[in-house]
Symmetry: C2
Subunit: 216 residues, 2 copies
């Protein structure tokens, strides 16, 4: 009996993710599941993307936080729509939590960015119906993180190395990070940015525009 | 039936933690459960503490990682004993995982530092038999983290603000961080350090010496 308890939960997460994907496909939305450590700069990276894309695309951000709404308040100032999910004790978003937010989506969006709970472990395990996972790795965390949190870096199609403005002050070698990321997934697209000074976003934005075009 | 499944797990974690505590009490060991985000500098903080205390105290570090042994290899170079626990998929250490390491402890230690999995959410929920939890908050993560991860900052008796050497380059105000930490627990001891240049460790070391003396 005990063995059966976890299995249906995971199976039905997968089923629920499929349903979410169908919902997102109705409007051909590109959906990103953005995962990174606490303080890696998920919200600031999203802010930069929003600034560059909001004049041409309809954007929604779904914010996952244990508690509070600091980040969605910050993002609302950019003029886009946001939905806040509070997980209370859960360390990740799953397909069910996302499905509860879907009835609030009452207009078509081109791009939906889901900011997951700050955590490199649990969020990597759950499909929420996204097109792909985006991992954010900030330079002060160290270039060894892909070795220590392998599942996320195995599953993420895109890795954004953030806080490149801090490179002179921290022990982080881009070369080592790239090697460690590609060892987990040789096809990962890697972008280097500084959400603080805006550097490096052009390549990322071009990539996202191509992905958005594929959806239409 | 389903409701009963989780409850015994948590109850018995608490019971197992009590047993661990009894084990640690046999030699009057001071046991710290060290929790912080990936890349917050847990290992480097431990290295600094080891350097300052190893000539006078017998020290053991128990390393919790999803996979690999990068950190315990680093710490073994300081000449102290280490035990590696790989959690494989689990996002935290619990009392059972620690209890499996106890048979390997075959001599008395004054100080046992347990480095938990890099995560601000799940590790905060589990008593592993420690004397107290130590949270590490690094400045690039931002001073709002105690608001976003309340349980850890409610439960930690000590918070170490690490990477103070990066303060000129990041958006982190010590004053705000202190306010946010004390709002979750007004009795928290807060220490400001840089594991990179060694600054600020004297106060922390004095505090630990007092705690070690209480055990004897």
């Amino acid at each position: 009996m005990k063995i059966n308890v976890l299995k249906p939960v995971l199976v039905s997460n997968q089923e629920r993710a499929k349903e979410n994907r169908k919902f997102f496909d109705r409007y051909n939305s590109l959906v990103l599941n953005i995962i990174g450590a606490p303080g890696s700069g998920k919200t600031s990276v999203i802010e930069n993307i929003v600034k560059k894309l909001k004049s041409s695309y309809r954007i929604l951000v779904i914010e996952g936080d244990i508690k509070g709404s600091l980040d969605s308040e910050k993002l609302m100032k950019t003029g886009i729509d946001t939905i806040q999910i509070n997980t209370i004790t859960e360390c990740h978003l799953d397909a069910f939590m996302i499905s509860q937010a879907l009835p609030k989506i009452n207009k078509p969006y081109d791009l939906i960015m889901v900011e997951n709970v700050g955590n490199l472990v649990c969020p990597a395990e759950f499909d929420i119906g996204e097109d792909f996972k985006v991992a954010i790795l900030s330079t002060p965390e160290g270039d060894d993180k892909p070795v220590k949190y392998p599942l996320l870096f195995h599953r993420a199609r895109v890795v954004i190395i953030n806080k490149t403005d801090l490179l002179p002050y921290v022990d982080f070698k881009i070369k080592n990070a790239r090697k460690n990321i590609l060892a987990k997934n040789p096809r990962t697209m890697i972008f280097e940015v500084s959400a603080r000074n805006g550097k490096g976003f052009d390549k990322l934005i071009n990539f996202l525009k191509k992905e958005l075009a594929k959806k239409k």
